[in-house]
C-alpha cells in the first residue's frame, strides 16, 4: 500500500524516472525489437530493411556451427547446473554443521567468483595443458603413460570448459544456499534430531524444500552463466578445436563483427532471447506470485 503523496512529490518521482525509463525502454525494448526486426531482413554487413521472411532463421538452423553451438550450450547446462548445485549444496550443508575456520573456508571457496572468466579460462587452459599441466604432474609422479588431452580433443574439450565453470561458480552457489540454510529454524533441526531422521532423508525431504527460494536464486544465477557463456570459451579454447566448443554467444558475436552477417547473428540472438524468456518469465511470475506485491 502506498502512502498518500502530494502531487508535487509524485511529479518529482516521475521526473526522476523519466531518463532511466527512456534509456531502459529504448535499449531493452526498442533495441531488442529492432534486433528482432533485423533478423527478418537480408542485412549482412550493415543493416538494411529488405524483408526476407524467415530466410535467416532457415539458414541459421541449417548452419552446422549453430547446431554445434546450441548443442554445446544444452550439454553444458545439463552437466554444469546439476553438478554445481550438488557440490555447492554439499559444501553449504557441511559448513552449516558449524565447523572451525568457517570464515576462512568460505573466503577460499568464493574467491574464484571474484575472478574474471577470462582469467578463469586462461588459468585452466594452463592447468589442463597436455604437455606441462596436470597430466605432466601425473607423469612425474610415476604414471608414465598418463595423458590428459581433453582440451585439444574435439570430443572432450567442452568438458574442460565445464570444469572451469564449476570451479568458478561452486562457491557462489554454496554462499547462496548457505544463506538459505541459515534461515532454517533451529527448532526444525532439533525436531529432526529428536525424531531420529537420517541426515540424507532430512536434507532431501525437509531441508531442501524449505530453502526453495535460495535454490531458485542459485538456479537463476547458473542459468545466467549458461546463456552468457562466452569469455571463458574465448580464453580457454577460442571455440576450438575447430568449432568443437563453440557456444551461441560466441556464434552471435563472431557473425556480427567478424563475418559481418548481421541478419544471421540477429536471428541467432533472437532465438537465444526467446529461449531465455521461455525459462525466465515463468520463473519470475512464480517468484513474484509467491512473494505477493511488496507494498
Amino acid at each position: 500500500m502506498f502512502v498518500r503523496s502530494p502531487s508535487s512529490s509524485r511529479l518529482q518521482a516521475t521526473l526522476t524516472l523519466v531518463p532511466v525509463a527512456f534509456v531502459v525502454l529504448s535499449v531493452y525494448v526498442g533495441g531488442v525489437l529492432w534486433a528482432a526486426g533485423i533478423s527478418f531482413t537480408r542485412s549482412s554487413m550493415l543493416p538494411n530493411y529488405r524483408f526476407a521472411g524467415l530466410t535467416q532463421y532457415i539458414n541459421l538452423f541449417a548452419n552446422a556451427r549453430w547446431q554445434v553451438s546450441l548443442g554445446n550450450m544444452v550439454l553444458f547446462a545439463s552437466i554444469f547446473i546439476p553438478v554445481t548445485l550438488l557440490i555447492g549444496y554439499s559444501m553449504a550443508a557441511m559448513i552449516n554443521r558449524g565447523v572451525r575456520g568457517e570464515n576462512a573456508l568460505r573466503t577460499i571457496y568464493l574467491y574464484p567468483f571474484a575472478m574474471s572468466f577470462i582469467v578463469t579460462g586462461l588459468v585452466w587452459r594452463w592447468l589442463l595443458d597436455p604437455n606441462f599441466g596436470i597430466a605432466d604432474v601425473a607423469r612425474k609422479l610415476g604414471f608414465e603413460n598418463a595423458s590428459f588431452d581433453w582440451i585439444v580433443n574435439a570430443d572432450m574439450a567442452i568438458f574442460t570448459i565445464i570444469i572451469a565453470a564449476v570451479w568458478h561458480s561452486a562457491g557462489l552457489v554454496m554462499v547462496v544456499l548457505l544463506a538459505g540454510l541459515r534461515g532454517v529454524d533451529d527448532d526444525l533441526w532439533k525436531a529432526i534430531r529428536i525424531e531420529g531422521i537420517p541426515a540424507w532423508k532430512a536434507h532431501l525431504y525437509i531441508i531442501v524444500p524449505s530453502i526453495g527460494t535460495s535454490i531458485a536464486t542459485a538456479l537463476v544465477l547458473m542459468s545466467l552463466t549458461v546463456v552468457r557463456l562466452f569469455d571463458v570459451v574465448v580464453a580457454m579454447t577460442g571455440g576450438g578445436p575447430g568449432i568443437a566448443t563453440d557456444v551461441p554467444a560466441k556464434f552471435i558475436i563472431d557473425h556480427m563483427f567478424e563475418r559481418q552477417q548481421v541478419g544471421l547473428a540477429s536471428a541467432a540472438a533472437t532465438t537465444l532471447l526467446l529461449l531465455v524468456l521461455a525459462v525466465a518469465v515463468p520463473l519470475l511470475i512464480l517468484k513474484n506470485h509467491r512473494k505477493g506485491g511488496a507494498r
Binding site: S5, M91, L122
Partner: protein
C-alpha cells in the same frame, strides 16, 4: 551465527567419524579451489627453462621478476607492445565512473519505485527485471547502433554508458528490495515531520543505505573490472580494458609461448578484484547471499 546453536545440528553418535570426514572433504575442496591461484603464482615466478623441466606444482627455484615486468610493460597486446599497463589505466577509467553512475542511478530509481506511486512504474520495473535476464549478445548490436548514432562508439563515455545500462537492472533491484524492507512507518513519520521528496532521500534513506551502497559498489567493481565483452566491443583499440589486453597477450603471441609472462599477466589482471574481495569479503558475501546478483 550463534555458536550455541551449532551443537543442535550435530548427530551426537555419528559425530567423531563423520566430523573427520567433513573436515577432510572441506579441506580437499579448499585445496582444489586454491590450486589455480597457487599454480598461477608459482608459474609467474619460474623461468621458461624451469617450466619445461620442472613440474607444475613445484615452487620456483629462483624468483624471477622480469616476466612480471614484461607483462606489465612490454608484452604485445596485438599490434602494440606496451604491456598491460595501458589496460590497467583503461580499466580504472572505465570502472570508477561506471560504478558511481550505476549506483547513483540505481539508488534514485529504486527510491522512486519504492515509495512513490508513479504511473507505469510497475511496467518499468518489470521491463528492467526481465531485461536483467537478457543475454548481453542480444543487446550488443542495438547498443552499437545507439552509441554510434550519438557518437559514443569506441569512446570511454560509450563503454561507461553500456556498463551503466547493463548494471541498472541489478542495482535498481538491489536498492528497491532494500527500500521495500524499510518499515513504511518511517516514511510516514518523515511525512508528518514535513520532509519532502529529496529531503527524505538524502537526510534519512541515504544514510541508512551505506551498507547497501557498499555491497552494490563491491559487486559492481568486480563485475565491471572483470568484464570482457563490453570492453571488447565498445572500447575499440584505445579503451580496451585489461581483460581484453590480457586475452590478446595470450592468444596473439607467435612463436614460443611464454607461460610465465602469461601467468604474470593473468595475476596482474586479477589483482584489483582479488584485493577488493579479500579486504571486503564480508560485504561481498552479504551481497551475493542477499540475492544481489539476481539480476
Amino acid at each position: 551465527m550463534n555458536p550455541a546453536n551449532a551443537p543442535a545440528r550435530r548427530n551426537a553418535l555419528a559425530a567423531p567419524l563423520s566430523r573427520v570426514l567433513v573436515y577432510l572433504l572441506l579441506i580437499v575442496i579448499a585445496i582444489v579451489a586454491l590450486l589455480p591461484l597457487y599454480v598461477m603464482i608459482v608459474t609467474a615466478f619460474k623461468s621458461m627453462e624451469e617450466i619445461r623441466s620442472g613440474t607444475l606444482l613445484s615452487l620456483p627455484r629462483a624468483f624471477g621478476f622480469e616476466h612480471w615486468w614484461k607483462a606489465w610493460n612490454s608484452a604485445c597486446t596485438g599490434l602494440r607492445c606496451e604491456g598491460l599497463k595501458v589496460g590497467f589505466v583503461n580499466s580504472f577509467l572505465i570502472t570508477v565512473p561506471s560504478v558511481v553512475l550505476a549506483i547513483a542511478a540505481g539508488a534514485v530509481t529504486g527510491y522512486a519505485l519504492s515509495f512513490w506511486r508513479v504511473r507505469f512504474a510497475n511496467v518499468l520495473f518489470t521491463v528492467m527485471l526481465i531485461g536483467g535476464f537478457f543475454p548481453y549478445q542480444v543487446l550488443i548490436y542495438p547498443l552499437v547502433r545507439i552509441t554510434s548514432t550519438v557518437g559514443l562508439f569506441n569512446s570511454l563515455a560509450g563503454v561507461i554508458f553500456v556498463h551503466v545500462v547493463f548494471a541498472l537492472p541489478v542495482v535498481t533491484l538491489l536498492f528497491r528490495n532494500y527500500f521495500a524492507s524499510i518499515p513504511i512507518d518511517l516514511f510516514k513519520a518523515a511525512r508528518v515531520d514535513g520532509a519532502g521528496y529529496w529531503r527524505f532521500f538524502f537526510s534519512i534513506l541515504l544514510p541508512m543505505s551505506v551498507p547497501m551502497i557498499a555491497v552494490a559498489g563491491i559487486l559492481q567493481v568486480t563485475f565491471i573490472w572483470n568484464d570482457y565483452i563490453v570492453g571488447l566491443v565498445f572500447g575499440g583499440i584505445n579503451y580496451a580494458p585489461m581483460t581484453v589486453q590480457l586475452n590478446n597477450i595470450v592468444h596473439s603471441t607467435y612463436g614460443e609461448r611464454e607461460y610465465n609472462v602469461e601467468m604474470a599477466a593473468t595475476l596482474l589482471t586479477s589483482i584489483i578484484p582479488l584485493l577488493v574481495y579479500f579486504t571486503s569479503g564480508r560485504w561481498f558475501v552479504r551481497g551475493v547471499a542477499s540475492g544481489a546478483v539476481k539480476g
